[in-house]
């Protein structure tokens, strides 16, 4: 009996309902997608699901208190909470520019954490 998983696509606002079934060779067969990107997402979601993560961390001597940050690419779903907690340990000082790489290869996932915005140095 083939195992079927139902998925809702997150690639675009259409949100197509898809199904992933394992065939005899052990490969996934995707149905219900209306485009290639959806099919790619479904396969990735079955084999190696990842999510882009975002959070904020404190920043010292900046014009504002919190620095929004993001992962540069998808982080494995099973490492989401750990990734966030690891990033929260970073000590960052102003000034910072949007796109600055604050740390590389978090928890060996091959993903980096970037600054989402520029923050100038406060002149106290």
């Amino acid at each position: 009996m083939n195992k079927t998983t139902r998925l809702l696509c997150i690639v675009c606002p259409m949100g197509c309902s898809m199904e992933a079934t394992v065939d005899q060779t052990g490969d996934y067969v995707i149905s219900g997608n209306t485009c290639q990107r959806g099919k790619d997402y479904a396969l990735k979601e079955m084999i190696h699901p990842t999510r882009v993560l975002t959070t904020t961390i404190p920043i010292r001597n900046g014009t504002v208190k919190r620095l929004p940050v993001r992962s540069n690419q998808g982080v494995p779903k099973d490492k989401m909470k750990e990734w966030i907690n690891e990033v929260k340990l970073l000590k960052i000082e102003a000034p910072v520019k949007a796109g600055d790489i604050l740390a590389r290869n978090i928890l060996d996932t091959g993903t980096d954490v970037l600054a989402s915005r520029s923050i100038g140095k406060a002149d106290f």
């Binding site: 606002p13 959070t55 904020t56 919190r66 993001r70 520029s118």
Partner: protein
């Protein structure tokens, strides 16, 4: 008295794009008035990604999107005043504004662009009973406290409203170590994008309770619990279905309202449904030379569309200033018909019907396999098939030039002809 060719009220994504486009089109001296201590508007607190797919072909976070425009401002000569509150806009485009540095300013503008954005619907507006303990926040307020001030707003949270802000906060709170017990939604369908149901709720096993609402808030000094009840077909709570959830925080994500105090006081004609100004295809309001764009006109789902709309307003404001726009002769109204909640623009200049026209609208419910019809009385002048339309996703249709040739009446209607209602 200060004089500017163009004054833009609001320095968020709408104001920024409008000012830049007006500048590109030689509007002259431009001033952006922003009430916050920095530019970027609501984007600064929207730290999640999903912005910019259309405009930049990249998936950016809110602050990244804002930064692109803020960086583009440099070297343009566009002036910005921060911490500045506009308190009055008059019919003849005189503006009164205040800030701690300049004090009270009086500004005369040739043209004005309204880009004030929107505000959140509150507990009072939807009449949730109960005491008033601390710990009840609108979702956007909680987002600002968390993302910009660095406060943890609560540890055990219930969220009312499955709009995108509510779902995004459900994820955000969970990532920050809070427990989100449930998201309650009064309608039988989610109010936000389905991708958010997946990446904000399902990813974290947060239950989405459709056909539910909050019927009581418990706690004296601080929220101690929230009572959720099921609702019937008329959205009324069903007695006997109450379930108490122990929590210390309730977030409300129950609607956004365009912020139009200034528009109202200036005597600008507003649309009862959108609660924003009535605009034409140039984004011009009922006052010649006053334009509007972004969430102040109608609440958007994607900032990319805000940018496009704002550029339209900026372009046309520049034309107005340069004396290049023709006097409106008469208007053709766009009327929402069956299945359509509202349409922007609400009217079209009758002498502009030889150009391509973009209409933006929302359906009043979820529909599958429908035909979208644009009609001039009984005649269908344009039709397109839509596989799937939902209220939480703004739709767009482009009327080809000459589609409205010598209309029989003073209006055209947009309506849905159903296949199957979901």
């Amino acid at each position: 008295m200060l004089h500017y060719d163009l004054v833009v009220i609001g320095g968020g994504p709408a104001g920024l794009a409008a000012a830049m486009e007006a500048n590109k089109n030689r509007a002259g001296d431009i001033l952006i008035l922003e009430r916050d201590s920095e530019m970027g508007g609501i984007l600064q607190q929207c730290i999640h990604n999903g912005f910019g797919l259309h405009i930049f072909n990249e998936e950016l976070t809110g602050p990244e999107y804002a930064q692109r425009f803020i960086d583009m401002l440099k070297g343009t000569g566009i002036q910005c005043k921060l911490d500045t509150m506009v308190i009055e806009l008059s019919q003849d485009k005189h503006i009164k504004a205040l800030n701690p540095v300049d004090g009270l300013m009086e500004i005369k503008a040739e043209a004005v662009i309204l880009a004030m954005g929107c505000r959140e619907r509150t507990r009072g507006s939807i009449g949730i009973p109960g005491k008033r303990p601390a710990g009840v926040f609108t979702a956007g307020t909680a987002q600002r406290y968390m993302n910009m001030e660095g406060y943890r707003v609560g540890k055990h949270v219930v969220i009312l409203g499955s709009g995108d802000i509510g779902m995004i906060m459900a994820r955000r709170l969970t990532m920050e170590g809070a427990e989100v017990l449930a998201v309650a939604e009064i309608m039988p369908f989610s109010a936000g994008l389905s991708r958010n149901v997946v990446q904000c709720l399902e990813d974290f096993h947060i239950p989405l309770l459709l056909n539910h609402t909050v019927t009581d808030i418990l706690g004296k000094e601080r929220v101690e619990g929230v009572v959720l009840s099921q609702v019937d077909g008329q959205r009324k709570p069903i007695p006997g279905t109450e379930v108490t959830y122990e929590c210390d925080t309730l977030l409300l994500s129950v609607g956004l309202i365009p912020e139009n105090e200034l528009s109202r006081d200036a005597g600008i004609l507003l649309d009862k449904i959108t609660q924003g100004p009535v605009v034409d295809e140039k984004m011009e309001t009922s006052i010649p030379g006053v334009f509007a764009c972004g969430n102040v006109v109608h609440v958007h789902d994607l900032v990319d569309f805000v940018t496009e709309e704002a550029r339209k307003a900026g372009r046309n404001a520049a034309k107005y200033i340069l004396g290049q726009s023709s006097e409106p002769m008469e208007f053709l109204n766009t009327v929402p018909g069956k299945g359509i909640r509202y349409i922007v623009p609400q009217r079209i200049n009758a002498n502009e019907t030889s150009v391509q026209l973009d209409l933006f609208f929302r359906p009043d419910s979820v529909y599958e396999n429908v035909k979208l019809l644009v009609k001039d009385q009984e005649k269908t002048i344009f039709e397109v098939h839509k596989k799937h339309v939902v209220p939480s996703q703004m739709e767009h249709l482009t009327l080809p030039p000459e589609a409205i040739k010598a209309p029989a009446a003073s209006h055209i209607t947009v309506e849905l002809e159903r296949g199957a209602e979901a």
